[in-house]
Symmetry: C3
Subunit: 181 residues, 3 copies
């Protein structure tokens, strides 16, 4: 091959390589909502994608973090405002409510009953499956600080990490699919 | 051409071909919300994209399915809970409400009046246009089962299909744009 | 090089070039929600992305436009309905409320206090940074017309443009990341 041709091919290979990195078979999702129905949707999409061998990276922020609280754990050294947040926000995946038709908890209970009847996994069970399927969960550091949550209050989840929005952005840049829920 | 060179070119072509499949001029959207304003946004984006010759694939799930109910149709063989859902959830695109400023229906009526005055299509009209423009609508099978909805209660829409989240995921993997509304 | 080889290479280069245009290091976002928490999330992601040298293009529509109103500006020539909207919708980034736990404004005030204490920029400050970082803000023309908002009521923001959904779609088609908030 001529030197010129080799250079052209090398350059093309590099450009194609960059494109491949930027369109990995990966799903990145911001999970923002604290509503049972939306977090269920996020976890159904995530476990579905992981079952199809996609790499899945979730970034839990704001209200959604409540669903990752472990009701059996507590953290020390909180100030008054942080304790208030702890009391006002739902304590774990078993406590989050529907965005719609909650009707004082009756709608939420009804949906949970129907899900059980139809053998759809509950939210805590979905977190368990997600962990087994290798779904990566990151929690937004800024939100943790604002709400006074600490890592030791969160559920046991393989590889659970506290990090900044930069992590979401660099994951999303490489992903084929990005969603904000 | 040398054998080595042909192999290199063939390999590059295949990699580029794969990238092209993964970045089709296609828009995939999860339509989750049951709010008039959000479904309007979804349909404005969808019909806009279809008018620009993009392929559009929508996946209606949870609350959004209510907007696809045909108020003139009924389904038989429902149990008590399924009948309850049928009564509590809005029956069709003409009945869904604003997420905000609904004010007992007054805000929703006001927005509809203004849309008419400005000659913006109503939600039922937008579904009609979407069908004509070839926007594909899929409905989430799991949500249909949970809420006890049946296909025969849904609007007449060209190619309307009931399917699983896997369909959304494989569509989204090939799409340039993915949104969750 | 042979003519045949040159053609093959030329064709490959063109296909790779098209793929590169379609996966620019660019973030396109529909900002639809009028809630303080969601617009904060949108602006944190946007300024983060811009700080990482991504091009960021926002399309403000529906309720989110309220956050771009300048409380010190007014517009003339509004009809009754348009004046009503002006009064009912929040007047600027300082007035938008939490989607959750607003509790008559107490929750919103609490969050703002905590953000200040943790030295997180307020929403008006974030708009300022976004402008300096070159984040592009477009406003949905149809929403402006429906709500009777005029450009002269909006904040001073570098390059602020009123345009249609087509602009969002063509930006999104070229972007690596697209979100709907």
């Amino acid at each position: 091959m001529s030197v010129e041709l080799e250079q052209t091919l090398q350059e093309l290979k590099e450009r194609v390589g960059k494109l491949e990195i930027g369109t990995k078979d990966q799903l990145s999702m911001v999970v923002f909502s604290g509503d049972l129905d939306k977090i269920l949707a996020a976890m159904i999409i995530s476990t579905g994608a992981a079952a199809y061998d996609m790499k899945v990276k979730l970034f839990f922020t704001f209200w959604a973090i409540s669903a990752l609280r472990d009701p059996k754990k507590t953290a020390k050294g909180k100030n008054f405002i942080e304790k208030m947040f702890g009391i006002m926000l739902p304590k774990g995946a078993g406590k989050v409510k529907l965005s719609n038709m909650n009707m004082g908890g009756m709608g939420t209970a009804m949906i949970k009953g129907i899900m059980k009847k139809h053998k759809v996994a509950s939210l805590p069970e979905m977190f368990k499956s997600a962990g087994e399927l290798g779904v990566e969960i990151n929690i937004c550091e800024m939100s943790m600080n604002l709400m006074g949550f600490k890592k030791e209050e969160m559920i046991d989840y393989p590889g659970l990490t506290i990090c900044g929005v930069g992590t979401f952005l660099s994951d999303a840049q490489e992903s084929k699919i990005q969603l904000f829920i």
